[in-house]
């Protein structure tokens, strides 16, 4: 199994062994699994020629042998319809979706299968680096077991490369969990991460962005095209959107909010008014409030209609006619009650809550002490303003090293 680095620069020979040029690059069709080599680029004098695979008899580290004696001048200059492995993929960064990390392509393994040569995998090892440097002996010392190839079918393109986006789509990245996408893009620079998020669906991008640390998320958001960034923000829960926007430079944040859907922007704006380290700054203002006079059936019908995300319906909070918090019930309480039963009869009245300006540590302590999944936030008049869930405080209690930290020079 040859590596690309062992092929490049080697002589290209016609059938009787005469040297006609040297191998400059290998072109593959990336739309197919394990991309097959479709042509090679031969350098002859100062000119480049694309020789199709059908005219090649073999490609080995000793040299590339042509099938027929032909004037190279008959072959056209290579075009851009195929991906140039040496120019476009070697030395670039690529996402290893199985290992959930960004790796650098030190070499590429080409596998002969039947009459084809196919791109099998990426070598990101130190042995690959040494091979490229023309120092194969130390890699012998490292032992063959150190050769780890990443299956080409498990990689996805990293950031756009010199403006060229590989035709490998973001399919595999799409299928990753948002936390894993976040782990990968936290290793990219803000500009690179912005490229990736713009290519993902808004919903996927929104979830990944919410998983990033706030300052890196803010940098990524700033690096995105404003319209794209606003679309992603629209998809985020308002509290997460507010957290990220809170770290974005002021003018830019205003611009993004003006591009967001008015209602989402309004929610974010009101959340940004609260200090970051208080219950108000942590809470999600999208909270489902039900009336004491509603029946269980009505509430279930309402939930079915809104279809809220799961962390917004851990608990249902009950308000009286003035919007004051008066009780709480769990989804379970609701489901097991008779359809016509009034909420006032099934709810718990001794509801625990926090105030808008309670410090965040206090909120976290309450959640942990009572084993709650969420706790309601009220203002001075006891009106329900939002809810803080465990997800919102997990960053306060989890060790720093568990989080998706950006890869940065200065911490």
């Amino acid at each position: 199994m040859p590596f690309l680095s062992q092929l490049l620069g080697r002589p290209v020979l016609d059938p009787d062994g005469t040297r006609v040029g040297s191998l400059r690059d290998v072109l593959v069709l990336t739309e197919v699994a394990y991309p097959p080599v479709r042509a090679v680029v031969v350098r002859s004098g100062r000119r480049l020629h694309a020789v199709p695979w059908s005219d090649i008899s073999s490609v080995t580290p000793r040299g590339t042998v042509l099938r027929r004696s032909l004037d190279l001048g008959a072959y056209p200059e290579p075009g851009e319809d195929l991906v140039w492995l040496a120019r476009d993929v070697m030395d670039k960064q690529i996402v290893d979706t199985a290992g959930v990390k960004l790796v650098r392509v030190n070499d590429l393994a080409l596998v002969p299968i039947n009459d084809e040569l196919r791109l099998g995998g990426v070598d990101s090892s130190t042995a690959g680096l040494l091979r490229r440097l023309g120092l194969p002996w130390p890699s012998g010392l490292l032992g063959r077991s150190r050769l780890r190839l990443i299956d080409w079918e498990q990689v996805d393109v990293g950031p756009a490369i010199d403006g060229v986006r590989l035709n490998v789509t973001f399919d595999r990245l799409h299928r990753m969990r948002s936390a894993d996408i976040a782990a990968v893009i936290s290793q990219m620079s803000a500009g690179e991460a912005a490229d990736v998020l713009e290519a993902l669906q808004d919903k996927t991008a929104a979830r990944a962005l919410a998983e990033l640390s706030e300052d890196h998320g803010a940098a990524v958001l700033s690096a995105m095209e404003p319209e794209e960034a606003a679309d992603v923000l629209d998809e985020m829960p308002p509290d997460d959107a507010a957290d990220v926007l809170g770290d974005v430079e002021k003018e830019r944040a205003e611009e993004l909010m003006s591009l967001m859907e008015p209602q989402a922007a309004q929610e974010v704006r009101s959340l940004l008014a609260y200090p970051e380290d208080t219950a108000g700054g942590l809470m999600n203002s999208r909270v489902i409030a039900v009336q004491e006079s509603d029946t269980a059936d009505e509430v279930i019908a309402k939930l079915r209609r809104i279809a809220p995300p799961e962390d917004e319906i851990y608990y249902l909070y009950v308000i009286d006619d003035d919007g004051r918090l008066s009780g709480v019930l769990s989804l379970r309480d609701l489901v097991v009650s008779r359809p016509d039963e009034r909420i006032a009869q099934i709810m718990r009245r001794d509801v625990k809550y926090v105030h808008l300006n309670d410090p965040q540590d206090e909120v976290a302590r309450m959640l942990v002490r009572y084993d709650f999944l969420g706790i309601p936030v009220v203002d001075d008049e006891n009106r329900l303003k939002g809810v803080v869930t465990v997800n919102d405080v997990v960053d306060l209690v989890a060790p720093r090293s568990w989080r998706n930290r950006p890869r940065r020079m200065r911490g």
Binding site: N106, A190, G191, S222, M409, G411
Partner: protein
């Protein structure tokens, strides 16, 4: 969570790089230039301010347009071998510079009469902890604030009562001679002002901050202000030592000498300020250099890098970082090692190696595939090429004279 102080908020990567540029090697380089050759090297600053502005702006622009660090771009554009060459260059320059920063700590502490065997290990441990605990960005605020003492050089410059007519004359009219000591100092002044590490550090900082084409105009101002500050402070350091040490014919053979001789000439206060400025500059650069070196090398070779990763996930990063600090601190503690040589050596090494980095930067910044319409303007190219060309020419002249004179010692 981390709210940067308002002081830092107005300071972009350009200004920070400019301030760190006046590190222990910078202070030494400028102080020696003034002490040995009076005002006669002031004209060089007029050129370095332009050259530094243009070169740093190129790096900042590349960071803003590509969103990638310099090491990253070099690797993607030039492949493994050229990258290895660039990294050996950077590593060489940065190892000697890190040694110099600890020499700065040693020198500053000895001005206060405290043994370097106490202060240098403490400084090394401090630098290591600050970075590993991930608190550098907070400490940076403190260090940058303390670096305001640099402004004291402006005051000392005036207190030294220089002959302003002579200052102006030498600033505006170049003079030159072909002696080895003169060339050493000349290359040293250029080499410390435009140091190889700065190119990597500034571009990565721009990328870290997520600055893009939109913020580019502001960022360019930030870079120009940073470059101006570096040279502004350099100007007054040269004036101070020229008006005192050179005017009174006092040689400055050790760092303590500089401070001790300043004392009777410019007062106790001046000497202490000099020492505090030196200590602060040394500490700040002792953090920045190992950090940016480890970062650049890991970026180039695709190794896990970040102070935020656990040690076992980023062994190369922490290994390089720790090795630089250990080498830096132990080299200074070798008995009888001449601090002044350690402090000045990086300037010459940097000046000689800088063209390698500049040539790569010029190729990258003029590559339309990478930069699109943001390639260098003709004026920028002329200045950058003149800088590179004159440094190469100076290096050749210097080496030829050095060989002719059969002298291997870098500082006379």
């Amino acid at each position: 969570m981390l709210r940067l102080g308002p002081f830092l908020a107005v300071m972009g990567p350009g200004i920070i790089t400019g301030i760190v540029d006046d590190d222990a090697t910078g202070i030494t380089g400028y102080a020696l230039a003034g002490a040995r050759f009076g005002y006669s090297l002031l004209w060089v600053l007029l050129l370095t301010i332009v050259a530094l502005s243009v070169v740093q702006e190129m790096g900042a622009r590349m960071g803003a347009v590509t969103g990638k660090g310099l090491a990253d771009l070099i690797r993607e554009r030039f492949g493994v071998r050229i990258t290895a060459l660039a990294m050996v260059t950077l590593l060489t320059a940065n190892v000697v510079t890190t040694v110099a920063e600890f020499a700065g700590v040693a020198g500053a502490s000895e001005i206060f009469g405290v043994s370097r065997y106490i202060t240098v290990p403490i400084a090394a441990a401090l630098v290591f902890l600050v970075v590993v605990l991930g608190s550098y960005r907070r400490v940076e605020v403190v260090l940058l604030t303390v670096s305001l003492v640099f402004l004291s050089y402006v005051i000392t410059g005036f207190m030294a009562k220089p002959d302003w007519g002579a200052v102006g004359g030498h600033f505006a009219v170049p003079s030159f001679n072909f002696t080895l000591p003169y060339l050493t100092i000349l290359i040293g002044v250029i080499g410390t002002t435009i140091a190889p590490w700065m190119q990597f550090y500034l571009q990565s900082s721009v990328v870290d901050k997520g600055l893009g084409e939109r913020e580019y105009r502001l960022e360019r101002m930030d870079v120009y202000v940073g470059s101006f500050l570096t040279n502004f402070i350099a100007f007054f350091i040269i004036v101070t030592t020229a008006a005192t040490l050179f005017a009174h014919g006092k040689p400055a053979d050790t760092v303590t000498d500089v401070a001790q001789t300043l004392r009777p000439l410019a007062g106790d206060f001046t000497a202490r300020l000099f020492a505090i400025g030196l200590l602060n500059a040394s500490l700040m650069a002792a953090v920045v250099l190992p950090l940016s070196t480890a970062y650049a090398v890991c970026e180039a070779f695709g190794w896990e890098r970040s102070v935020n990763r656990p040690l076992r996930e980023a062994p190369a990063f922490f290994g390089l970082f720790a090795a630089l600090i250990v080498i830096g601190a132990t080299a200074v503690l070798i008995p009888g090692v001449p601090l002044l040589t350690l402090l000045f050596l990086p300037n010459v090494v940097g000046g000689i190696l800088l063209p390698v980095i500049l040539l790569l930067m010029l190729r990258l910044v003029n590559d339309r595939k990478i930069m699109g319409t943001w390639v260098n303007s003709p004026v920028q190219n002329v200045i950058a090429w003149l800088t590179t060309g004159s440094l190469i020419a100076l290096t050749i002249i210097y080496l030829v004279i050095a060989i002719l004179e059969g002298v291997g010692v870098l500082t006379g």
